[in-house]
């Protein structure tokens, strides 16, 4: 399939202006006659639904939680980037653009990233106006902190709860539209399929999670903002409900899936403690502003951290990357942590951990300053580990955190199915092979507040949309397929729980498609996943029925999709025989163990098409061009 990203011609600085000017507008009086379906109420979905409601569209918004305010975005801690240059430290739109393209290891689309950097300014303004209580200086100005991969201070934050406050801002805007009657909210509702008629996305089939009813929603456009798929690894920092179902089912209806193997492993999470463990807890990247990362120089050093003198400690990031030190990007920090642990220098009972030590910062600034900056994170750490990080260094280890891959979209955030738009973590668009900290919140809100409302309008204004209703045979076909899927899950009545399959899949993914990957390992994983999937469909047990609240059934549907996605991720990772960003192929590294890109052969977006249950996915390539940021071997030394 030939992929046309529809990047506006001309200088990148004017691309978005030009695109907006060229878009067709919907007559204000006609907007309410158009229904837009928004799946997801996280930062991307809530901001898109609210903004389109404000414009006058008839919006329906869906989430599987009991309230839109609980979307996974709520858990983001550290902050959101914007090129405001309030600190007068040399920041600019161009610099944020540059850092993000470089941080993504030259696997993102320049024009998208430039627009993201432009929109970052408006996002902060919008959120402040909504009452988001960002951190302030005594004089009343907004303050900033630093995040990895940047040498300027451009991250805005609300204590350790930035995602919560941004989401509440968007949620409140959304509820205002619910009251105004422009948005109808459908909580506890899960999208289970996409309805495509005459090649256009025209609706969705949902399951009411309380009553089990299947419902059809018809619309003129569908916006998927259903989040990322990190939970394919079972253990991740994502919320337990985060899943790929909405995206995956759209994929099976024709939307290409781009760069599925690009996953982000976050360097600072609380290490795993036992097999009962259900999720991993992130310790925000912001901690690397003041915490220093180290391990003992000697292998197997079992002394308490305070008994290891300074000259027997290896502050390995400061040593290897003197110019960025502890603030190297996430992929680099994670790989280095794995490396020192593989050498046998890891700390804690399992040996899978490194220290994040605040004692120097506490000495320099005083405990109260550290408490003020990170108090809630320290409390969380203490609650989980029973150790006091003001006294002993934190123990941290990398964990799956974010997925850069997602449904392929063009510059207008439209997928390969006309009328199906994808926003937020669910699309692949802006982060290339590695996302810089504090830029997912930025992207979600840029998509939702400032891009989707225009581009969806343009689509509606320029498309021929015939009238469709529930009785259309294509609609009934999808409904019956969804019903069949549910019935078959309930009727297997095998011996293994859904979670046991999910755990096993997660382990395969982590071992072979995690922090470092090899062709051989990926090949093995593909075989294992196929086998596991086969066993799932013969031996899973899903108790209860389909006509009431049934959490096992919800999980079963999601895990069934993960079992298919996992294979595609491994295929994509095997196919990409280079290292870039978070995708580290052992076969492709520099002499000192850094990721070695292969621009000659792999400077493209890999977009995969679904071809059927047991047939190989079809690869389409979108070549990437770099006209502004000079493509170099990424170095943070």
């Amino acid at each position: 399939m030939k992929l046309d990203a529809k990047i506006p011609s001309g200088p990148i600085e004017q691309a978005w202006d030009k695109a907006r000017f060229d878009m067709k507008l919907v007559n204000p009086a006609n907007k309410r006659k158009h229904t837009v379906l928004v799946i997801g109420s996280g930062l991307a979905g809530a901001s898109a639904a609210a903004s389109m409601g404000e414009l006058g569209y008839n919006v329906r918004c869906f989430c599987f939680q009991d309230s839109p305010r609980r979307a996974h975005s709520i858990a983001a801690q550290g902050g959101i980037n914007a090129a405001k240059n309030y600190q007068n430290d040399g920041d600019s739109i161009y610099r944020l653009f540059y850092d993000t393209v470089k941080g993504g290891d030259f696997r993102s689309r320049e024009a998208n990233v430039y627009r993201l950097a432009q929109n970052s300014l408006n996002i902060i303004d919008q959120c402040v106006a909504q009452g988001v209580p960002f951190a302030r200086e005594y004089g009343g100005a907004l303050t900033n902190r630093s995040f990895g991969g940047a040498q300027v201070s451009r991250t805005f934050y609300a204590r350790g709860q930035t995602g919560q406050q941004l989401l509440l801002g968007a949620y409140q805007a959304l509820e205002r539209q619910v009251q105004a009657g422009t948005v109808t909210m459908f909580p506890r509702t899960e999208m289970l399929d996409l309805i495509v008629i005459d090649g256009q996305a025209r609706g969705i089939v949902t399951r009411n999670l309380v009553t089990g009813e299947l419902n059809v929603h018809i619309g003129d456009a569908v916006v998927l903002a259903s989040g990322g798929y990190g939970n394919v690894y079972y253990l991740s920092t994502n919320a337990k409900g985060s899943n790929v179902t909405a995206s995956w089912r759209a994929h099976k209806r024709g939307a290409l899936f781009a760069n599925p193997c690009f996953t982000q492993i976050h360097p600072t999470c609380i290490p795993v403690s036992g097999d009962y463990q259900s999720k991993l807890t992130l310790m925000s990247e912001s901690l690397r502003n003041d915490g220093r990362i180290w391990v003992p120089k000697q292998k197997g050093d079992k002394r308490r951290p305070d008994q290891i003198p300074a000259d027997e400690r290896d502050y390995y990031l400061e040593r290897r990357y003197p110019s960025f030190g502890n603030l190297v990007p996430r992929d680099v920090a994670s790989r280095n942590a794995k490396h020192v642990c593989d050498e046998g220098r890891g700390v804690g009972e399992t040996g899978l951990g490194v220290y994040l030590d605040f004692s120097d910062a506490i000495q320099r600034l005083g405990e109260h300053v550290i408490r003020e900056r990170y108090g809630n994170l320290f409390d969380m750490y203490q609650r989980i580990t029973d150790e006091d990080p003001y006294k002993v260094p934190m123990r941290i280890y990398p964990a799956i955190h974010y997925t850069m891959g997602g449904l392929w979209v063009d510059y207008y955030l439209q997928s390969t199915i006309p009328g199906l738009f994808v926003a937020g973590e669910a699309n692949f668009s802006d982060h290339g092979a590695n996302r810089l900290g504090a830029s997912a919140l930025m992207q979600g809100l840029s998509d939702g507040y400032f891009i989707i409302p225009y581009t969806v309008g343009n689509y509606i204004a320029t498309s021929k949309l015939d009238k469709v209703d529930d009785s259309h045979p294509a609609v009934q076909q999808v409904v019956s397929e969804v019903q069949q899927g549910i019935t078959s899950l309930l009727s297997i009545k095998g011996k293994r729980t859904v979670d046991s399959f999910h755990r096993e899949l997660g382990k395969i993914m982590w071992d072979e498609c995690g922090m470092s990957r090899t062709a051989q390992g990926l090949e093995k994983a593909i075989g294992q996943i196929r086998q596991l999937r086969e066993e799932f469909w013969q031996n899973v047990t899903v108790p209860g029925s389909g006509d009431d609240l049934n959490q096992s059934l919800e999980k079963a549907g999601r895990v069934a999709d993960f079992l298919e996605l996992g294979e595609l991720m491994c295929i994509d990772a095997r196919d990409r025989n280079e290292s870039c960003g978070g995708h580290f192929r052992e076969e492709s590294q520099t002499a000192d163990g850094e990721a070695q890109r292969d621009d000659e052969n792999y400077s493209y977006v890999a977009a995969w098409g679904y071809t059927g249950p047991d047939s190989a996915p079809a690869l389409s390539k979108e070549p990437l061009e770099f006209k502004y940021v000079y493509r170099s071997q990424r170095s943070y030394k």
């Binding site: 209580p133 406050q165 337990k240 409900g241 009962y276």
Partner: protein
């Protein structure tokens, strides 16, 4: 560790519920309360029984999905801690824990430990926002906000909407929840223009829902996993009193509470 869990099971709102007693072995002191329920549920499923339905998502104490009464205390014995972050090391080997859902008329039961908290969303709909449409905002630094003001707003804004305050209150009042939003937005300069209107509408909606009245007992703040201070209720009362004088003739609209889930009763 071994524990005995006495858990409220109820198939739906219409059927009667009762406590079931489940022994759970191999409880690791490091696991969270929810992970302990996971372990129980896995064994129930393996025995062919339906697992205990409970709500959860982030498991980091911020989404507000989880929560139930543990031995009569909302979110359990550890202060400032949600059930998902409550580790089992706070219990003794052999202990019996009684686990039941939030009980309040405004939170109708859905199944087992899952209740319907949409009343809280409706209170926000009534006025828990600043009316600023996308694109309408001045530069972020145009309105200086002193650090002390921003900090106080943040203290109130930290509410996660879990409903523990309502469950803990002998009157099942939502005053702490409503007061937290009224305080968060009212303290900030951006929120001042709508301060009166907000207080009137949100309080009116709260009173329309079957929540009880606040009699200043303070159980809410004691149970609150985010330690929202009681003073937000005083702020709400002050704002409301002022607003009723100034805006006495304004029409206040409320939304009719919806309790059904079937798609026909939705919009």
């Amino acid at each position: 560790m071994k524990l005995t869990l006495k858990i409220w099971r109820q198939k739906n709102r219409d059927e009667k519920g009762r406590f079931f007693t489940y022994p759970v072995e191999n409880v690791n002191p490091e696991m969270s309360m929810l992970e302990c329920l996971d372990v129980l549920n896995e064994s129930l499923i393996e025995r062919g029984e339906e697992p205990v339905a409970f709500e959860h998502d982030c498991r980091e104490g911020i989404c507000g999905s989880c929560g139930f009464m543990i031995n009569g205390v909302a979110h359990g014995p550890q202060s400032a801690t949600t059930a998902c972050q409550l580790t089992m090391r706070h219990f003794k080997d052999g202990q019996e824990l009684t686990i039941e859902p939030w009980r309040a008329a405004a939170f109708p039961l859905i199944k087992d430990l899952v209740v319907d908290r949409r009343a809280l969303d409706r209170i926000i709909q009534a006025g828990g926002y600043i009316s600023v449409s996308t694109g309408n905002a001045p530069d972020g630094n145009n309105i200086p906000v002193g650090k002390d003001i921003a900090d106080r707003a943040m203290d109130a804004a930290a509410c996660i909407g879990c409903g523990a305050c309502v469950a803990a209150c002998p009157n099942a009042s939502a005053a702490l929840f409503t007061g937290a939003k009224i305080s968060h937005l009212g303290i900030l300069p951006q929120g001042k223009p709508e301060q009166d209107r907000r207080a009137l509408s949100m309080v009116a909606q709260m009173n329309t829902e079957p929540f009880g009245s606040c009699t200043n007992i303070g159980e809410c703040t004691a149970a609150c996993p985010k330690e929202i201070p009681l003073e937000v209720i005083a702020t709400m009362n002050r704002d409301y009193r002022g607003a009723t004088c100034r805006k006495r003739d304004d029409l206040v609209q409320v939304v009719a509470p919806v309790t059904g889930w079937s798609s026909s009763s939705k919009s």
